[in-house]
């Protein structure tokens, strides 16, 4: 699987000279499986650039030609995870097929949440039905694995805000990528179910919004510190960890310090865990 980062920021896009290296777009990751399937993890503003990349090839059977299929997994529906959706180009090409999975009481409720963003007071397209592509919307319950485009996908609900955020484990061709984007653990850290989901992941992409100091300042925001990300990866025996979902006020230099802090913690634990810092436009092969 090839995992590419299109948006790595939390809460709200943070344009400006201070965020050019890691990037200022909100959460969006693509997973290209060895079988060639497309999975999109969250639809923050990074989805605009992902859409442009997916539409670059105009041959028959592609997204530009209206002949392709993809799945979109939404960890939750806070703005920074869905606000790129109306600007995701492949959704506007008739013939493309999208399967959207997310956390909600029912599929109708999830559709209502996504329709809410398209409503005429907010966006000129007015409804998903005007977008063009065929869109299937499925409320996904945590627990039992589901087959999605040739991948085995399992979800666990982590604490975050009022409705929680899903972490996804995607398994294909003997490899596992885990995405835990927003994770507001309690004092005791990840739940047993979450740790089981992360266990042995070839790549764990984990919420690392804050320094421990800022985490303590904003306990109600339901977001993890870099220390919690490292602890989760070590406890779960992950092979690689990608820090992700940086605070909107952190400059590139601030993120460098998060990375340095994680590096020291991993060295201190004498762990072979490989460390990445998610940056827009970079790809990790798994």
């Amino acid at each position: 699987m090839d995992v590419t980062f299109w948006g790595v920021r939390g809460s709200i896009p943070a344009p400006g000279p201070g965020t050019v290296r890691y990037g200022g777009n909100t959460s969006c990751i693509s997973v290209r499986t060895s079988g060639g399937a497309w999975l999109v993890l969250d639809c923050g503003t990074g989805a605009r650039n992902l859409g442009l990349a997916m539409m670059a090839d105009e041959a028959p059977g592609t997204f530009a030609a209206g002949g392709a299929e993809a799945a979109i997994l939404l960890s939750h529906t806070h703005w920074d995870h869905i606000q790129g959706f109306p600007f995701f180009g492949p959704l506007y090409v008739a013939g493309n097929v999208f399967h959207i999975y997310g956390v909600a009481e029912s599929s109708a409720r999830l559709e209502g949440i996504l329709e809410g963003q398209m409503a005429p007071q907010y966006f000129p397209v007015q409804t998903l039905k005007n977008m063009g592509a065929s869109i299937e919307i499925v409320a996904m319950a945590p627990g039992a694995p589901r087959d999605i485009l040739g991948c085995r996908v399992t979800a666990v609900l982590n604490p975050h805000g009022r409705s929680g955020a899903m972490a996804f484990r995607i398994e294909e061709a003997g490899r596992a990528v885990v995405y835990a984007g927003d994770a507001g653990y309690g004092a005791q850290g990840p739940s047993a179910e979450a740790l089981a989901l992360y266990r042995g992941a070839d790549l764990l992409i984990h919420d690392s919004t804050y320094t421990p100091e800022d985490r303590a300042r904003y306990p109600g925001r339901g977001l993890a510190s870099v220390d919690e990300a490292v602890a989760a990866a070590l406890a779960a025996n992950a092979r690689q960890l990608a820090l992700f979902h940086y605070d909107q006020d952190y400059s590139d230099a601030d993120v460098d310090q998060l990375v340095e802090r994680a590096r020291r913690a991993i060295a201190k634990a004498q762990s072979p865990l490989q460390l990445h810092a998610a940056a827009e436009g970079t790809t990790i092969g798994v």
């Binding site: 896009p13 806070h78 600007f87 966006f123």
Partner: protein, 319 residues
């Protein structure tokens, strides 16, 4: 009067190296009178930085008042508001103004934005006092010492242009709008460009003429006009049904209105800094050829313009 730009982009924020100079935040302009009346036009992502900046002043003490004029409630004009720090300080007052809609009350538009499961803090739970004021198309009213005039624009689901006059100077904010020639935008979704061969019904043409006259009147003799020039002529030919103007449309309005200065605004998300430079240069050439005595710039984040009398010391010294 001071005018400062905090977000100059249209559609959605575009961080990255291509937009470093002009900026990637969506629409937000701050206007402050010499006496200290504070008006914010649109609350795109640029309003987040403005809010942080304000928290060094009376807003930090919970003694601040700001008036937010919303041109229309498309995302790129409201998406920063939940991140406006003064909202979370008890004692601050925020007045939000926008055109009255037929379907949804203004409060509901903003309440849904912060509702579960879209955002963590519902607007009812923010600590500042927020009031909503719905406006008629041609409303005229006062905010402190500032005279505010409105006129209707040609944009999907309708937008409002504002003229603010104080300290012997005027600024007009005209965004978002299509030209007033090919399509009349109201509440419908227009999926594709209309056929060129089908002429507009006379009733539509009359409405567009009246709308354009309103915009020219609003800009009459303005010291500064801020205008939606998101499209190049090529963009407009392809997407006339999206509701945005070209620099040439802004020049025509400014010439007829006798405006002194024009700032190109609401840059397209795909536009790189170099491309904005080129558009500005080409527009300057056009203005020179038309012998227009018009100072012409492209808006960038942090751009600061002083108009008319302004005796207020620089920010930070007075407060």
């Amino acid at each position: 009067m001071k005018v400062k730009f905090w977000g100059v982009r249209g559609s959605l924020p575009v961080p990255g190296p291509r937009t470093e100079r002009y900026g990637g935040n969506t629409s937000c302009v701050e206007v402050r009178s010499a006496a200290g009346t504070r008006i914010i036009i649109d609350a795109g992502t640029g309003v987040r930085r403005l809010g942080k900046d304000l928290m060094h002043e009376e807003f930090e003490r919970g003694e601040g008042t700001a008036h937010v004029l919303i041109s229309h409630t498309h995302w790129d004009h409201i998406q920063g508001l939940p991140f406006f720090a003064p909202l979370y300080q008890k004692g601050n007052h925020l007045y939000v103004y926008a055109r009255r809609r037929d379907d949804v009350h203004l409060r509901a538009v903003f309440a849904s934005q912060t509702d579960d499961p879209y955002f963590a803090v519902p607007i009812e739970e923010t600590k500042a006092d927020i009031s909503f004021r719905e406006l008629a198309d041609s409303a005229r009213f006062e905010i402190g010492d500032v005279d505010v005039q409105c006129t209707r624009l040609n944009h999907p689901y309708v937008a409002t242009a504002y003229r603010l006059s104080v300290d012997g100077a005027s600024v007009a904010y005209v965004s978002d709008t299509a030209p007033f020639s090919d399509i009349l935008f109201e509440n419908q979704f227009i999926a594709r460009p209309p056929m060129a061969i089908r002429p507009l019904p006379e009733a539509d043409r009359a409405k567009l003429r009246a709308m354009r006259d309103g915009v020219v009147r609003l800009c009459e003799g303005a010291d500064l006009v801020i205008y939606d020039t998101m499209f190049t002529p090529e963009d407009y030919d392809r997407f006339p049904h999206y509701g945005h103007s070209r620099p040439g449309d802004a020049l025509d309005v400014c010439r007829e209105a006798g405006a002194r200065r024009l700032v190109l605004f609401h840059h397209a998300p795909e536009r790189s800094d170099a491309e904005v430079d080129e558009i500005l240069e080409a527009t300057r050439v056009t203005a020179r050829q038309a012998r227009l005595a018009l100072q012409l710039d492209a808006a960038y984040e942090g751009m600061d313009i002083t108009l008319g009398a302004d005796s207020r010391p620089a920010r930070g010294q007075a407060d």
